[in-house]
């Protein structure tokens, strides 16, 4: 397996950011566990019911998803590593190796896949611990949190594939960041416009809530809607994610085969 060395290289170059992000995620997980213990059995359990419910809801999701997001962040080191490969002599050197371009792409993907699997496993263990503190059992079928973890990691993985293609296409760090920022801003504006429009409709329809209450209920409603979507829609989303990854793989390999040095 010729790309074994390239995978080793990828991990070696990203090792600091991986260790740092995982340490950070570990701190957040510990904070989450302590907070949950305090809410159920410690000082925070003495709060009034309404405040406790609201804090319980918030901290549960916060301490469940944030570590997963933090652990997925090293996926984006693919931008710096790819741009550095082009700007240094590594990319030229790589063209002198008896390894296909697809091997170089797969090497970076293997690193990202391993990071994603580790993030998934730690995310599940974290969810299990958080649940067990409340003496509940984690269910792979009933609990929507696990689906959310899978979605977060899948999206982060696909984004890293898109970013890798952009990095191979534009080769300079500033050029890549500018394009990613443009896509992110457009995406953010789109999501915000959708949320405002739907929130507006929701508040008009449910005039019994004030804006603050309405917003909380609306977000929970949207979250539940997202987690309980029809199986066909789920399949379509899964297909889109897989198709995007495959498309990015093809485009990245084709871009590297162009040999624009």
């Amino acid at each position: 397996m010729k790309m074994k060395g390239l995978v080793y290289r990828e991990f070696f170059l990203s090792r600091k950011i991986i260790i740092l992000e995982y340490m950070f995620a570990f701190i957040v997980i510990v904070m989450g566990i302590l907070t949950r213990i305090s809410m159920l059995y410690g000082n925070m359990a003495m709060l009034d019911r309404e405040t406790l419910d609201s804090a319980d809801n918030f901290t549960y999701y916060f301490f469940l998803y944030i570590p997963v997001i933090i652990m997925s962040c090293p996926l984006f080191s693919v931008i710096r590593s790819t741009v550095t490969d082009f700007n240094g002599k590594w990319m030229e050197m790589q063209y002198t190796f008896p390894v296909e371009e697809s091997g170089w792409v797969i090497a970076k993907w293997i690193k990202n896949a391993i990071i994603s699997v580790v993030a998934f496993v730690i995310g599940i263990v974290n969810a299990g611990i958080i649940k067990s503190i409340a003496e509940q059992r984690l269910s792979f079928i009933k609990d929507s949190e696990l689906k959310a973890i899978v979605i977060i990691i899948s999206l982060m993985f696909v984004l890293s594939c898109i970013f890798m293609f952009i990095s191979c296409r534009y080769k300079s760090y500033n050029g890549v960041i500018a394009r990613i920022a443009a896509i992110a801003i457009l995406g953010y504006i789109g999501v915000m416009l959708y949320i405002y429009r739907e929130l507006d409709k929701f508040i008009v329809k449910h005039s019994e809530f004030d804006v603050e209450q309405g917003m909380g209920i609306f977000l929970m409603h949207e979250y539940n809607k997202l987690m309980n979507i029809n199986i066909y829609v789920k399949l379509i989303i899964a297909f889109i994610i897989c198709a995007t990854a495959v498309l990015m793989y093809v485009l990245t390999v084709r871009q590297l085969k162009r040999r624009e040095m």
């Binding site: 397996m1 060395g5 240094g88 030229e92 050197m93 390894v99 162009r258 040999r259 040095m261």
Partner: protein, 304 residues
Amino acid sequence: MNSKMEIDMDNYKYENAIEIKEISKKYKDFSLNNISFNVPKGSIVGFIGQNGAGKTTTIKSVLNIIKTDSGRINIFGMDNVKDEKKIKEDIAVVFDEMPFQEEFTPNNLNKIMKSIYDSWDEVVYKGYVERFGIPYNKKIGELSKGMKMKLQIATALSHNARLLIMDEATGGLDPVVRSEILDIFFDFIQDESNSILMSSHITSDLEKIADYIVFIDRGNILLSGYKDDILSEHAIIKCAKDEFVNIDKEYIVSSRQSEFGVEALTDDISKFEDKYKGMVIDRATLEDIMVYYVKRNTDNIKKG
């Protein structure tokens, strides 16, 4: 140089390690124009030319790092594009700059390279690293420029390559390190199936080790052939201005005039000596030849 090619893909029978046939590549502000030359098996070919002459572009074309607009390149008798992966198992490349990230150690490089090359020889690699006095677990960023270059060479020579391609590899190194590196190339070339293509603008190195010289300027090959023939055919003539006026310019590549007289390069010393007896004639170095040919090219361009 243009020896007949024998191709036997299975047995790797070939006479020229590299055959370049009329390759062209156009950029906005530079072009390679119908470049052709060979690197015969078992020889060292020095590829000389000033900065920006097209040496690196030619080498990148050979390695298929860039695509050419036209022409054909064979390596070990095989097409450099179609049989790329097969060919690259047997090629070693040394660049002018370190291609490996500074945080790697020679130990890390060994781990990377041993999976990339089927024929990677860990013992040979460790032997070279030890011979060059490179600390095995020291980061590349902490090594001197000479050490970095030696490490690159150690990496290049540790997978039993039959062709070593170097792009300005000795530039910027002190004479002692350069001399050590040239010794390594001598060792490498002792095996007659090994060949070296070495691009450099430090002509003194090539004068020591090259068998053939290919001289490129502004994307065109100006001169190619046996180094000894080139050196024996060319000479520097020193004369007074009024003497120079009477010399047939057919023998002169280009000249430099100063208040003390004229220095000119001739490309046919035997005929020149027969015709103009008693003139001061000095041996021309590759550097002289390069400088005078480039000057002729520049003068021709100025004249339009």
